[in-house]
């Protein structure tokens, strides 16, 4: 097996992993603060992907341009979803929250099926099939841009949580629910903001991903599962962990596909998930 083959595969794995990482980041942020596991996460991702294909088909807009309005819409959607539906469930048992979001997921997947039908949809931009050639390594242009967008968004989110007042307040809510309430923070509002931000991650990840993958309704549950694997490996609630987990899963799947059987590669990531859960249940970068 040649070096350039391995290098090509690893580079592609890293880039894909970054986009996955951004998607998982949304899940991680929501869990880290609201303590609710968003079982409709992948479904939201497919909604964003469909939004990008529709806007492309109607207005011919590049998915990267579309990402901003879609993200804004998703923020509002997430905010409302948390306010109207999830906030009342905060104190309910876990399986109850889980069923609520499963119901949301079922509605989303099938509403997509009703509206768009089962056909795969995609966008076709002129740079989609181009690749950069660096030595013997071919880098898919669209994949590189998508990964760039993922890194940019993640950085922005990180800075927001680190330095902005709102970001700090949200972290306070996450660290100490009661304390935050005592200090006079409107915790439910911050929860809603957080859910909105998680949805922004998903929206941008979706717009980037649509350049790489054709979207069909059943993609939703698959992404939900993938996001979970990544987030658990990286550490639920850890921002860096989500990106690291994404890259790890991206690269390990790529290598497993290369060296073992491609059709068994997702077995490898579930195996990784089991190992991490057993030996470092908080995830690689998570805190207990």
């Amino acid at each position: 097996m040649g070096f350039d083959l391995v290098a090509n595969v690893v580079v592609a794995g890293v880039l894909t992993g970054l986009v996955y990482g951004l998607m998982a980041l949304g899940l991680s942020v929501i869990f880290g603060v609201v303590r609710v596991v968003n079982f409709a996460h992948g479904e939201m991702m497919t909604v964003a992907m469909y939004a990008a294909t529709v806007l492309f088909a109607m207005l011919g807009l590049d998915p990267f341009v579309v990402a901003l309005p879609v993200a804004a819409a998703f923020f509002v959607f997430g905010y409302l979803l948390q306010t109207a539906l999830i906030n009342p469930f905060i104190t309910r048992p876990e399986h109850s929250q889980f069923m609520l979001l499963v119901a949301v997921a079922i509605v989303m997947v099938n509403a997509l099926l009703m509206v768009f039908g089962p056909d795969a949809r995609n966008v076709q931009v002129d740079y989609q099939l181009d690749s950069f050639e660096i030595g013997k390594i071919l880098i898919d242009k669209a994949r590189l841009f998508a990964a760039g967008a993922a890194v940019l968004t993640a950085t922005g989110l990180f800075l927001f949580f680190r330095y902005s007042l709102t970001g700090k307040a949200i972290r306070a809510c996450a660290d100490n629910y009661l304390g935050a309430k005592v200090v006079g923070l409107n915790v439910k509002k911050y929860y809603a903001l957080t859910f909105g931000l998680g949805c922004v991650c998903v929206a941008i990840a979706g717009c980037a991903q649509v350049l790489l993958v054709d979207v069909t309704p059943p993609l939703g549950p698959y992404y939900t599962l993938l996001a979970f694997v990544i987030v658990i490996v990286g550490g639920l609630g850890s921002m860096g962990g989500a990106l690291l987990g994404g890259v790890l899963i991206g690269v390990s799947e790529a290598l497993a596909g290369l060296f073992i059987a491609p059709s068994a590669k997702s077995m490898f990531s579930f195996g990784l998930l089991i190992v991490v859960l057993l030996f470092r249940p908080q995830g690689l970068l998570g805190k207990r």
């Binding site: 090509n8 089962p118 995609n122 099939l129 181009d130 071919l138 790489l212």
Partner: protein, 406 residues
């Protein structure tokens, strides 16, 4: 023949007794339960099959003077649902079941049909086992995986002969699902026996049917440095794969499927545009020159003015023929009684047909033998029959343009 004569005699004698139900029979409708995956992950192909069923009553009325009433059921690409839908269709009075494109669902429905004693005509499903279980009410007018592979490989030989090419190596990629695995087994069994084929398989790569990204698989295949790509795919993965080949600048002599869906489906053309050009599928196909094809095409265009039959060739064609088989048996049986109907289906001998191959005749297992395949190449954004010459409407192109020997 004996039984048929007996049945006819019986029918005649009963009719002469003035038995009301049989006299009524011919004026009565045959209720055909169409069971297809119109939603779920097979939804696109299920809807394509449905188009063939939808035009059947009109065309068949005109052909045989028999009335069909369709009862449509969607099994949502779920085997459990297929089973309950089949039960319900029978409950609601379906005299015969037609469907379901998918091998898993076909075996579930076959069990219901067998238990309830209602004939089940399979339109498309290749898993060999379905007709190996000793069923008395299950009929299949489609090639088994083994036949598909044998015909498909033979056509590859013809293709090379017709184009004067001698590729030495192939890389074999296949989807790892029910169908893909049956096909891979078939190829493993037939390749060594077909000594006239000039090429060897240098690497075999199986991939997940739900794969969203085939970067690794294509990198690996490219690295095998083979002359051409032998591909057993479904639809979405075929699209992803084709794009990835361009991204990775891999230009083999061609992409040839020894018999799988995907590269002749409408969606493949719609999504890939000119990249869809020149892909080759050796599949059971309709004879574009057959008289019945013309009739069906006209009916198809009437119902789907913006569509083309050629994009639904295999799906709609075999679904239509399955309805035709049921109607033809009904005409001869002169009754909707399921047992008589099943016996009549067993006696089927339809020569005026749409799909390539010999007449539709079931063997004792309920399987039609001698269904033909065609080499279908995508030319000018249309799936075009290029081989066998008798049915061809264009000449094959191989190696495909853009190919550079490195």
């Amino acid at each position: 023949m004996k039984r048929r004569q007996f049945n006819q005699a019986l029918a005649a004698s009963v009719a002469s007794l003035g038995f009301p139900s049989v006299v009524k029979a011919q004026s009565q409708k045959l209720k055909v339960g169409i069971i297809l995956p119109r939603s779920g992950y097979l939804g696109f192909i299920g809807q394509s099959c449905q188009k063939g069923a939808d035009l059947a009553p009109g065309v068949i009325k005109q052909m045989l003077g028999v009335d069909l009433e369709l009862m449509n059921a969607d099994f949502e690409s779920n085997v459990d649902t297929a089973r309950t839908r089949a039960e319900r269709l029978i409950q609601e009075g379906a005299n015969v079941l037609v469907g379901p494109f998918d091998s898993g669902a076909a075996s579930a429905i076959a069990q219901v049909a067998e238990q309830r004693g209602v004939p089940f005509v399979i339109n498309i499903a290749a898993a060999p086992l379905i007709t190996e279980q000793g069923y008395k009410f299950v009929f299949r007018n489609f090639q088994t995986a083994g036949d598909i592979v044998r015909n498909g490989l033979a056509l590859i030989g013809d293709l090379f002969q017709a184009t004067n090419t001698v590729p030495r190596t192939a890389v074999f990629m296949h989807v790892n699902d029910t169908f893909g695995q049956a096909m891979a087994k078939g190829i493993g069994a037939f390749m060594p026996r077909l000594t006239q084929l000039p090429f060897k398989i240098v690497d075999t790569i199986s991939y997940d049917p739900a794969a969203k990204d085939l970067t690794v698989e294509v990198s690996k295949a490219k690295a095998a440095n083979a002359d051409f790509l032998l591909l057993v795919c479904r639809l979405n993965d075929a699209i992803i794969l084709r794009r990835e080949m361009v991204k990775q600048r891999w230009n083999p002599m061609g992409i040839v499927s020894p018999g799988s869906p995907g590269m002749y489906e409408e969606q493949y053309f719609k999504t890939l545009g000119k990249l869809s050009e020149h892909s080759i599928s050796n599949v059971p196909w309709y004879n574009p020159k057959a008289k019945l094809t013309g009739v069906v095409e006209k009916a198809f265009l009437k119902q789907n003015p913006k569509d083309k039959l050629v994009f639904h060739g295999l799906n709609a064609g075999f679904t239509f023929e399955a309805c035709l088989i049921a109607a033809d048996a009904f005409k001869r049986a002169r009754t909707t009684d399921p047992k008589t109907l099943a016996d009549a289906i067993r006696q089927t001998n339809i020569t005026e047909k749409m799909m390539l191959g010999g007449p539709i005749k079931f063997n004792e297992k309920g399987q039609v033998e001698g269904i033909g395949s065609a080499c279908v190449q995508n030319l000018n954004l249309l799936p075009t029959v290029v081989l066998p010459t008798s049915a061809a409407t264009a000449k094959p192109v191989f190696p495909v343009p853009g190919y550079k020997k490195t």
